[in-house]
């Protein structure tokens, strides 16, 4: 009986290419022609989430849902505990809902969100961390479960803005639709993100 140990180097070469998907279903992501996405040298992007309530878990979940849309690691994020070193800060606008499992039923619009970009005078670079605020609607009464489901949807939507999807989708099936009714990015959201992250940006992130 003989045994041999081989140590060396391996070269991997790929060929016989499969058909490349078209990725024709995407919507606009620019802001009046200006394009923003996180450059490679800023990955992983640092996110800070409000420590109150379940915001940190919701943001972590939302980031994961966006990261998984890209095939080649074009966008990655990490949570940080210090807002002073964050690239993106996500907070509650005012009231903090107690934890509840998200309602699996039809979506109700029990919350909303806003994401703010501050530009320099030339409009070519951000000057501050991107800020997202999530507000619980008080005009009507909703169950905690409905609020929790709404917050999850809206956080995913607002995180889409923070990674560069600056427009709203025209289709209600997309998580980037203005009145977000789905909990995760759709195929069109995915293709839009993929096209965005291979388009040359014109807006630089705020310096660290």
């Amino acid at each position: 009986m003989r045994r041999a140990l081989l140590i060396g180097t391996a070269v991997v070469v790929a060929c016989s290419e499969p058909t490349i998907p078209e990725r024709a279903a995407w919507y606009g992501f620019d802001n009046a022609g200006d394009v923003f996405h996180w450059p490679r040298n800023r990955l992983p992007v640092r996110y800070y989430a409000d420590t109150r309530g379940s915001m940190s878990d919701i943001v972590t979940h939302g980031l994961g849902s966006w990261e998984s849309q890209l095939l080649y690691g074009e966008f990655t994020a990490e949570m940080v505990a210090d807002s002073n070193v964050a690239d993106v800060i996500v907070t509650w606008f005012d009231s903090v809902p107690p934890y509840a499992p998200p309602d699996p039923g039809a979506p109700v619009f029990a919350c909303d969100g806003v994401t703010t970009f501050l530009f320099d005078a030339a409009g070519t670079s951000l000057t501050d961390p991107i800020r997202t605020q999530i507000r619980i609607t008080t005009a009507q009464s909703y169950t905690l479960e409905q609020v929790a489901a709404c917050v999850r949807r809206v956080v995913v939507h607002e995180l889409g803005h923070t990674i560069g999807l600056l427009q709203e989708s025209p289709a209600p099936e997309d998580v980037m639709y203005s009145t977000v009714a789905v909990a995760a990015p759709s195929g069109r959201d995915r293709q839009t993100l993929q096209v965005l992250y291979h388009t040359t940006p014109t807006i630089a992130p705020a310096p660290r």
Partner: protein, 169 residues
């Protein structure tokens, strides 16, 4: 993996270290049956617009069974078939949802020249080739409906560490 998203995008492993362990049982005939376990560790890189960026790393394990025979002085050839598995460091991106188990075919030459002690000591140089198909659930979900054919070539130094024989695999 070749892709095109606005611009051409290629994702491929970098040149990487590999380790192979094989075991064979001598017979009276010209062919020696053997089994081999190959492991390699590679950084996965995205090549786009003339730049390369690492985005993951992967351990690739291949187990094959085959046969070997001497084809010349100090020279042995081997063929085999088996299975190959990709184990990514992070199950994200093209590896979200994991990866499957793929059939692999392999062929190789092992040269044990006299200046390295010859076949009696089984120091030598190995040139190995294998081919397999590759895809992942994430690639399939993204529209890559057919698998990619992947060719691998390895150059290695080798030595027999147990047993006796005329040549190592």
């Amino acid at each position: 993996m070749h892709d095109s998203i606005v611009v051409p995008v290629d994702a491929k492993p970098a040149i990487a270290p590999a380790l192979a362990l094989s075991i064979g049982e001598g017979t009276n005939g010209p062919w020696t049956p053997e089994a081999a376990l190959d492991v390699s560790w590679a950084a996965l890189q995205r090549h786009e617009s003339g730049e390369a960026a690492k985005f993951n790393s992967v351990t690739v394990i291949a187990f094959t069974v085959g046969a070997r025979r001497e084809v010349g002085p100090g020279l042995a050839a081997r063929v085999g078939i088996g299975a190959i598995k990709y184990l990514p460091a992070d199950e994200t991106g093209m590896f979200r949802g994991g990866s499957g188990l793929w059939a692999v075919g392999t062929a190789g030459l092992y040269w044990s020249p006299a200046m390295l002690g010859g076949p009696a000591h089984d120091f030598g140089v190995s040139l190995r080739y294998d081919v397999h198909r590759f895809s992942t659930p994430a690639l399939h979900a993204d529209g890559f409906t057919s698998a990619q054919l992947v060719h691998r070539l390895s150059l290695a130094i080798g030595a027999r560490i147990l047993g006796k024989g005329r040549t190592a695999p």
